[in-house]
Subunit: 323 residues, 2 copies
């Protein structure tokens, strides 16, 4: 058995709990697709120095790699079925790192009911790259898309917005004299996304359009509206902020821009017809996911973020981009 | 539209021909699994400086990324359905590289009937990393596994063995005074694998066990035999070599070790019951894929590579390993 095979058997085989994964002992895995369902497919990679800091704990790196993909499945109304992973690892990464990485991966695979089906590991003269491809299932023809919002729909968002963008600024040395719990909140929101998979079924049942917010509320919601061919008004005073984010914005009003356009929220934004809004809110409560109504879909094009005085905000950059 | 979205629309959207890919304009894609089929899942990444040279043409890098995965599907008896891709790109990689990459990707996606369903692009302070996750289909319960070979089965291999391992040595400066066509053959066999997807249905119909050879004939076939709980004798004189590889081995007998244990062959090795061997060979002929019978499955454990004089070879390293 090669060193690579030993590592796989020791660290990753326990996460490959589906019989179709064949204990990671074959070249490929098989999956029996549930009858009457469509598969939902998503691939997203995270790169050391871009999406996480090289000294972040390996178990949390694994969590983040899974959760950024789980978040997309949730926004599409899909339940997870499993994932594939490709790891590119620099020489400095040894068994202790891999052991912690596998621990985080296995913990989230169990938590989200999303077992490992296969993958590969390679050496790289560069940063750690974790590429995940995830597949989920929705009843045939029901994947919730960006397109589909219509004028009159209510706009809902889960959780709180902007924490992760502030958290990464703190990691880079920014200090707003927050309390220790506030600091911890922002840092952890960057480090470990909380994908809203508990809300997937409610989104599928009630939303006319949805997406997860990974590149900033303003930019991502703009994409949803363009795909749907609609406009929208967002009431900025109703955008849900954590206590920590409120404290930052109170201390430095310019940070509101960062909150509304920064990346890494991993919350769901969706449009829900008025006739379904109450049922959606009830379903969210039952799922234990906080949702806030923040605006309304309009005819036309463009999204206005309206401040307390009724004026529309102008952003420095609408959305995070790698290019 | 962000720069990233423009690149995707311009270069990658034309490859996303399945309606479920939604023109790459959504967060995820959907796929209607064919009724009565299992999905076959595979992820394999290639890394600049490891699996290809940084100055290799981008269209061929794209081809290689797809073909190493297509080769696994072929060996499992599966037909391709589509793929996801994650690209990590250093700053030096600009639009001309991406355009050529997308050209190669699109060309092979069409050739192998394997459209793009989605993916992502990131910047990296390191080499190009191309992570592909591919999914195929086999009639329910029929994925060909490594386990399944039984004593008495014939051992077949496709194409020729060892060319790529010699090709990469040439790329690194080795010179065996070959003819120009011979040099070209070995170089191209490393650069562009020729996955044997045309043989997938024959493998599925006739093989008791199969895998693709990516880490060397000796090491990979050893894995198949261990998974099947069998031994085997391979007749080294029957292992198919190209004219170029024969010329190298004639000039330098030590290179036989490299031929039999080097990586990147992307040929299929399979065990076929004697009762099916003729039909398998007929099906291979009909598919236009050369197959050679090179040995026999035995009871016990261990694979012997028997030279012309009947003695078993000892290898320096049985298999290529990244660790």
């Amino acid at each position: 058995m090669s060193a690579e095979d030993r590592l796989i058997a020791r660290f990753f085989k326990p996460i490959a709990t589906d019989p179709g994964a064949l204990g990671l002992s074959d070249d490929a895995a098989f999956l029996k697709p549930p009858a009457g369902f469509d598969l939902v497919l998503k691939a997203d990679a995270i790169v050391g120095g871009v999406h996480f800091f090289p000294d972040d704990d390996a178990d949390l790196v694994a969590s983040k790699a899974l959760r950024v993909n789980l978040s997309d499945l949730a926004a599409k109304g899909a339940r997870p079925l499993g994932f594939l992973i490709s790891l590119a690892l620099p020489k400095e990464v040894g068994e202790p790192w891999l052991e912690a990485f596998a621990r985080g991966l296995g913990s989230d695979a169990a938590l989200f009911g999303c077992p490992l089906f296969g993958g590969d590991t390679d050496r790289i003269s560069g940063p750690v790259v974790v590429s995940v491809a995830m597949f989920g299932a929705v009843p045939e023809g029901t994947m919730v898309q960006r397109a589909g919002a219509i004028a009159g729909d209510r706009v809902f968002v889960t959780g709180t917005i902007g924490d992760a963008a502030l958290g990464v600024m703190m990691r880079n040395g920014k200090d707003w004299k927050l309390s220790a719990p506030q600091r911890q909140h922002l840092l952890s929101r960057y480090l470990v996304p909380q994908p809203r998979n508990a809300l997937a079924e409610a989104v599928r049942a009630h939303a006319s359009a949805a997406m997860d917010i990974s590149d900033g509320l303003a930019g991502d919601f703009g994409k949803l509206c363009r795909a749907s061919g609609v406009a929208a008004d967002i009431d900025v005073t109703r955008v849900p902020l954590s206590d920590a984010a409120k404290a930052v914005v109170t201390a430095d009003g310019g940070m509101l821009d960062t909150v509304l356009t920064g990346g890494d929220d991993y919350e769901i934004i969706c449009a829900v017809p008025t006739s379904k809004a109450l049922r959606f809110q009830d379903a969210a409560r039952a799922a234990g996911v906080t949702v806030s109504e923040i605006g309304e879909i309009k005819t036309g094009e463009g999204v206005r973020f309206l401040a307390a005085d009724g004026r529309a905000l102008n952003f420095r950059h609408a959305s995070f981009s790698h290019f």
